[in-house]
């Protein structure tokens, strides 16, 4: 067993989670995020929660950072120069010609990350089969180097047409650039992505160059500060595609870490689902501003191989976590046609919901939940005193604007609409993968997740809801469970046959050369499709064991599950994906020990959605829960409250989770 610290920097809070190998204890702590210098918040959390001797015993420090994301959001990164094939300098600006909002006549794309004057062309051309159509003109590269020097460019991205099929020209451009005196970091598209689609690959490569400038110094500085405090272990950075990268790799491939925030919750759910033997589980993370959901099948994270952040496509592995603007802070309003709507606008951390009494006047989901007694009135963590009167005052005007009869009905409406939004998001992630959500368990966490567990169960017709202990901080637990993962991919379009599988082996070997790490488990996946189709499914293969028939059979099974039918057409390989995984420690605990505390037990008046009426219900502290308790009731713990409606029963499971079971259907 090893001691691991995980620190995740969120928009509002920096969460720390510590697993102490000596005691088996899991500890969590929170500090305000310090956006201008995030390492200060990280170090403050370490200083506050981790004694020096413990830090010295710590083997891994797993860090989830938003430094890259913020660089993109704020457009504060390197001054990047881009070198392209002659005729293609505008690919970054032309994009794919579509609009984010198809009904917006005046929609305009955000300005490109590299201005046009810094997008320079060199004469050269490689064909789709990798053959050289036109030799590289070295003078073009030298001229580009002069321009970059004159313009004070920090970093250069090199993206040449079809370089996925033959990277020689890209590599040569980098050499020439160095010879011409350019000393800054250079990003080569075939190393960054290796996949076809020039706009997406260009964008990924430019993002890499843009954020590397910020990420490298930040990580090295943090590493230095931790070592000053006695840390002798390894600093790891979480990936958008699950798992974590070693420091040097994260600094070299920062685009892989852009969106790791929502991944930790899905990862924690995956591990929990595997240990509880839940075949399919739905992660239901209700935070302050959003509802994040992911479908976990057989304990595996759902992966995509292209993501998007602030309108920029990124060709890198991506855990398929869907987000909708329905969280505790989501604002309810009446639209111009008089319907009640919820989100996506949020009250954020400041001023927060009206019931926080910090100047918020707009009604939120939290205000509705408080009004209905779904969360206890009184003081919550952070010392905020929840005011039911402020909540009711904020909700009241909606009655007049929507024609809904009274504040109670408004509050019920806000919760029902928020739950319906969440359920739609869950249907999205399940139906698209050919899974009927009814057979799944809902794992409800995040500050407000356990409040919505029963409502989601009824919306989705699901019978089991699992609430992990310390549900409010459950995401952070995913951090200390991360494995070290590296991946690379290369597009190679050809029919699936014996020769192709041999070629796949060669490509995979060359990809693994870049991913080498002692003790790593190697995994190879293929993007496959029916010949003539565009969209692919990613199928695992066992090199040296599988023949084309075995791969085809696996594809057919996955295709049938996703789309409900099979096709006779021959298969085509599109992309080879190599993943190396170092499992850090199987002994790490699945869940933190149940905490104690969480306010006063007793009874409360709450709204039962099942009964459509107010009712008196018990309030039980989590540690006091014995046997099976029938709803309605509230179960309290320090970080979250579980709302158990009539028709549901709750028990403390031996794993430390609360297990909520639906006794009858509404």
């Amino acid at each position: 067993m090893t001691t691991v610290i995980g620190v995740d920097v969120g928009g509002t809070f920096t969460d720390l989670v510590l697993h102490d190998a000596a005691t088996g204890e899991i500890r969590v702590a929170k500090q305000p995020t310090t956006p201008s210098a995030p390492e200060r918040g990280v170090l403050a959390a370490v200083d506050a929660a981790v004694p020096r001797d413990l830090l010295a015993r710590c083997r891994h420090f797993v860090h989830g950072t938003t430094v890259g994301l913020n660089a993109l959001l704020e457009r504060r990164g390197a001054s990047v120069g881009l070198i392209t094939t002659a005729g293609f300098r505008d690919v970054l600006e032309i994009r794919r010609g579509d609009r984010d909002d198809p009904y917006d006549l005046s929609w305009t794309p955000p300005p490109p990350l590299v201005p046009r004057r810094l997008r320079l062309e060199v004469a050269e051309r490689v064909a789709a089969d990798g053959s050289v159509v036109r030799e590289l003109d070295p003078d073009g590269v030298r001229r580009a180097a002069e321009t970059f020097a004159a313009e004070g460019v920090d970093a250069v991205a090199i993206v040449l047409m079809n370089s996925y099929a033959n990277p020689a020209h890209e590599t040569r451009v980098a050499e020439l650039l160095a010879e011409a005196g350019f000393a800054g970091p250079v990003s080569l598209s075939h190393e960054v992505s290796g996949e076809y689609r020039e706009y997406e690959r260009t964008c990924t490569t430019v993002v890499d160059a843009f954020v590397r400038h910020r990420m490298g110094p930040y990580l090295h500085n943090l590493d230095h500060e931790l070592r000053e405090r006695g840390f002798v272990g390894e600093l790891l950075v979480t990936r958008s595609g699950g798992g974590a990268l070693a420091l040097a790799e994260a600094a070299a491939r920062p685009f892989e870490t852009i969106l790791s925030g929502p991944v930790a919750g899905a990862a924690a759910t995956a591990r929990l689902a595997a240990s509880l033997g839940l075949g399919t589980a739905v992660a239901a993370d209700v935070g302050g501003t959003s509802f994040d959901t992911a479908l976990i099948e057989d304990g595996r994270l759902p992966l995509l191989y292209q993501g998007e952040v602030v309108g920029l496509p990124l060709q890198s592995p991506w855990v398929d976590v869907r987000s909708v603007g329905a969280g505790g802070g989501s604002i309810a309003y009446a639209d111009a046609g008089g319907l009640l709507r919820v989100g996506p606008r949020s009250s954020g951390a400041d001023p927060g919901p009206a019931c926080y009494g910090r100047g918020g006047t707009e009604p939120t989901v939290t205000d509705a939940a408080l009004h209905l007694g779904m969360i206890p009135r009184g003081r919550i963590s952070g010392g905020i005193e929840l005011s039911a009167a402020d909540a009711a005052r904020a909700l009241a005007p909606l009655a007049g604007l929507t024609g809904i009869d009274g504040v109670d009905a408004v509050a019920v409406g806000v919760i029902r609409i928020a739950a319906a939004h969440m359920a739609q998001a869950v249907r999205g992630v399940t139906v698209e993968r050919g899974v009927d959500p009814r057979g799944s368990a809902v794992v409800a966490f995040g500050g407000a997740g356990p409040v919505f567990g029963c409502l989601l169960a009824d919306e989705l017709d699901v019978d089991t809801v699992v609430v992990p202990p310390n549900a409010g901080n459950f995401s952070a637990v995913g951090l200390v469970q991360a494995d070290i993962v590296r991946s690379a991919a290369r597009t190679m379009v050809r029919p699936l046959d014996d020769a192709a599988l041999t070629a796949v082996g060669d490509v995979a070997r060359s990809l693994f050369e870049r991913l080498a790490r002692p003790g790593a488990v190697r995994e190879v996946d293929l993007d496959l499709r029916h010949r003539g189709q565009e969209h692919t499914l990613t199928i695992p293969v066992r090199l040296g064991e599988d023949d084309p028939a075995a791969v085809s059979a696996r594809f057919a099974e996955a295709y049938h599950r996703a789309f409900g039918h099979t096709l006779p057409d021959p298969l085509e390989i599109v992309t080879v994906r190599a993943t190396s995984r170092v499992v850090l420690d199987d002994e790490r605990p699945l869940v933190p020990a149940p905490p104690s505390g969480g306010g006063g037990a007793g009874t409360t008046r709450l709204w039962s959605f099942r009964r459509g009426a107010w009712t008196e219900a018990p309030v039980v502290r989590r540690e006091d829960l014995t046997g099976v308790a029938e709803g309605p009731l509230l179960v309290l713990e320090p970080t979250a409250t579980a709302y158990v409606d009539a028709g549901f029963a709750v028990e403390a499971h031996e794993s430390g989770c609360l297990l909520i079971t639906r006794k009858d259907r509404p």
Binding site: G87, R116, Q424, E534, F563, G564
Partner: protein
């Protein structure tokens, strides 16, 4: 001469009065999400790039009265057009009483779909406890279903354009009707692609039908119906609220379509928009009788053009339902360009319909000058290519729309290189994907410097694309707006029109606009120069700093700046 007034009367007036607003909102969201599921299913399983990449399809739900419940955002050009074809498809097989669970109806008659026979619809009736509660419908572009050429710009009647299925059951109570299936395959030049797309459409429509049935089950049929009625009333209220703010009046604009593709003569037409309180009437009777070439616009697409134009202004970013369309009235003349009758050819129906959209907006500029930009490149610049691969003899085909510059507005420069607004959700195919698939090399994919119409705000730049063909092949060019330059507004200057030039290996150079089956010998280069946006306001009023920034980034040249913006130098 018959004047046709198309107006949507309120289904079940008053039914929604008692509906719970919360459940209504939940059902509204549920319908939109279910339509989106249907869309995703189709995108991920379709075989034709024109479906999965160009999103040349529409998916929607209709209620039992054939009012539109929801439509997923795909091509705005198809907005609301499926209602006609659901109606015709159901009538074709004998009316609602002849439907059973498991039926799938195939329908592609251009006068009911509004487009060409390649746009085939699948309609699936949805039952709840044996009661017909609605329909899911998908219309998507098949690569080929007969016709004189895979894509036609020179047809003289609809029968040259493709094989017509006037509402036939492809599945009868869940059983494939193999006679119909074999008819389809026998009539396509690319049967494998069409089979793949049929499977994808049927699977998508069934996925949608199941999602809608689940929604009805969840809420009960009575609640569902009442909430839907209220949802329509809500959509109508949103649009009426916006129309109410328009100054009452009669607004007009006129323009000229380049040619009908056969007879070569320009086609003038005009629009008249009457705003009266919260109702809007669009009159498209000022046009010639139906023409001899394929630029006639069947009524469903005329209706769509009007809805698109108005939705862009008034939709408030909402996915539309039938209620959004109620305040709109359309006046057409039977037998005319915008309401042709059989057998008028209509393969290139998008040309008049797209032109009408921009012209309606232009007419309304007088009422809402802050919302209406100058003209864009004004066309989807469709190119369709096909041939047989040199090495294998295998047939191949591909086709795509291409982006244009957008018009400048009162508040900003126009965006460069976006799909024309009627195809605004469409993405254009990466050159690397094209090169991996087709015998082409893309030699240039660039913004066209100096192309944006000068003005206080500059029009968006058009695109320069060059394709070198590596094997003999054919091309059909569907370009419109090649003669009419995109208009500026308030003193802004016009942008450049669309242009297609073929450079032959023997040095010959020729321009084309609407032209079917251009033979391209190996080594020919096709240059597509798409139109740019018109300028807004006088160029002399352009902020000198903006001119200098354009110079610095190379969007304009010094010569262009000296000519149009001397004040800034």
């Amino acid at each position: 001469m018959t004047i046709v007034r198309t107006r949507y009367s309120e289904a079940h007036p008053g039914l929604g009065d008692g509906a719970d607003p919360v459940t209504t909102e939940i059902i509204r969201q549920g319908l939109n999400a279910a339509a989106d599921q249907m869309k995703q299913s189709l995108i991920r399983t379709a075989f034709s790039p024109i479906i999965y990449e160009a999103l040349d399809f529409a998916v929607a739900f209709y209620d039992a009265d054939m009012c539109m419940l929801a439509q997923a955002p795909t091509l705005p050009a198809f907005m609301g057009t499926l209602g006609f074809c659901v109606h015709e498809a159901v009538e074709g097989v004998g009316g609602p009483a002849a439907l059973s669970p498991g039926d799938v109806i195939l329908y592609n008659d251009p006068y009911g779909t509004g487009s060409h026979p390649q746009d085939a619809a699948m309609v699936v009736p949805i039952f709840h406890d044996d009661v017909l509660v609605g329909y899911s419908a998908i219309k998507a572009h098949w690569l080929d279903i007969g016709g004189k050429d895979p894509y036609c710009t020179d047809t003289v009647d609809v029968h040259q354009e493709g094989t017509i299925f006037p509402g036939v059951k492809l599945y009868d109570a869940g059983r494939l009707v193999s006679d119909v299936y074999r008819m389809i395959l026998a009539n396509s030049r690319m049967p494998e692609m069409v089979i793949g797309d049929i499977n994808a459409m049927v699977a998508g429509a069934r996925t949608g039908a199941e999602a809608l049935a689940a929604l009805v089950r969840r809420h009960g049929l009575d609640t569902f119906r009442r909430c839907v009625a209220r949802m329509y009333a809500h959509g109508e209220a949103l649009v009426r609220g916006w129309f109410d703010q328009l100054p009452d009046g009669v607004y007009r604009a006129s323009s000229v379509i380049d040619s009908d593709g056969v007879n070569g003569t320009p086609i003038p037409f005009g629009v008249e928009v009457v705003v009266d309180g919260s109702s809007v009437t669009v009159d498209l009777t000022d046009c010639p009788d139906q023409v001899g070439g394929p630029v006639n616009c069947p009524l469903p697409s005329t209706v769509a053009a009007v809805r698109i134009a108005v939705s862009f202004l008034a939709g408030a970013g909402e996915q539309p339902n039938e209620g959004h369309f109620r305040p709109l009235e359309l006046v057409t003349r039977l037998g005319s360009l915008f309401h042709p009758v059989r057998p008028a050819p209509c393969f290139m129906y998008g040309i008049p319909s797209d032109h009408a959209i921009e012209l309606i907006l232009r007419a309304l500029a007088e009422a809402v000058p802050e919302s209406v930009p100058a003209a864009s490149g004004g066309d989807i610049n469709a190119l369709v290519w096909w041939g047989n691969r040199e090495a294998t003899g295998e047939p191949w085909a591909d086709g795509a729309p291409h982006p244009v510059g957008q018009g400048a507005s009162r508040s900003a420069d126009g965006a460069s290189a976006l799909m024309y607004i009627s195809e605004s959700a469409t993405r254009f195919t990466p050159a690397e994907v094209w090169e991996a698939r087709n015998p082409w090399r893309i030699e240039r994919l660039a913004l066209a410097e100096d192309s944006g119409g000068p003005g206080r705000h500059r029009g968006g730049l058009g695109l320069d694309l060059s394709f070198r063909v590596l094997e003999d092949q054919y091309l059909t060019s569907g370009l419109a707006r090649t003669a009419l330059a995109p208009w500026g507004m308030e003193g802004g200057l016009p942008g450049r029109p669309n242009r297609l030039t073929v450079e032959y290996p023997d040095g010959r150079v020729e321009d084309f606009s609407l032209k079917t089956r251009i033979f391209l010998p190996k080594g020919a280069v096709v240059h597509l120069r798409t139109g740019s946006g018109g300028g807004y306001g006088s160029p002399g009023e352009r902020d000198p700093e903006a001119v200098r920034a354009d110079l610095r980034e190379g969007y304009i040249t010094h010569e262009h700046a000296r000519r149009h913006y001397p004040h800034a130098l």
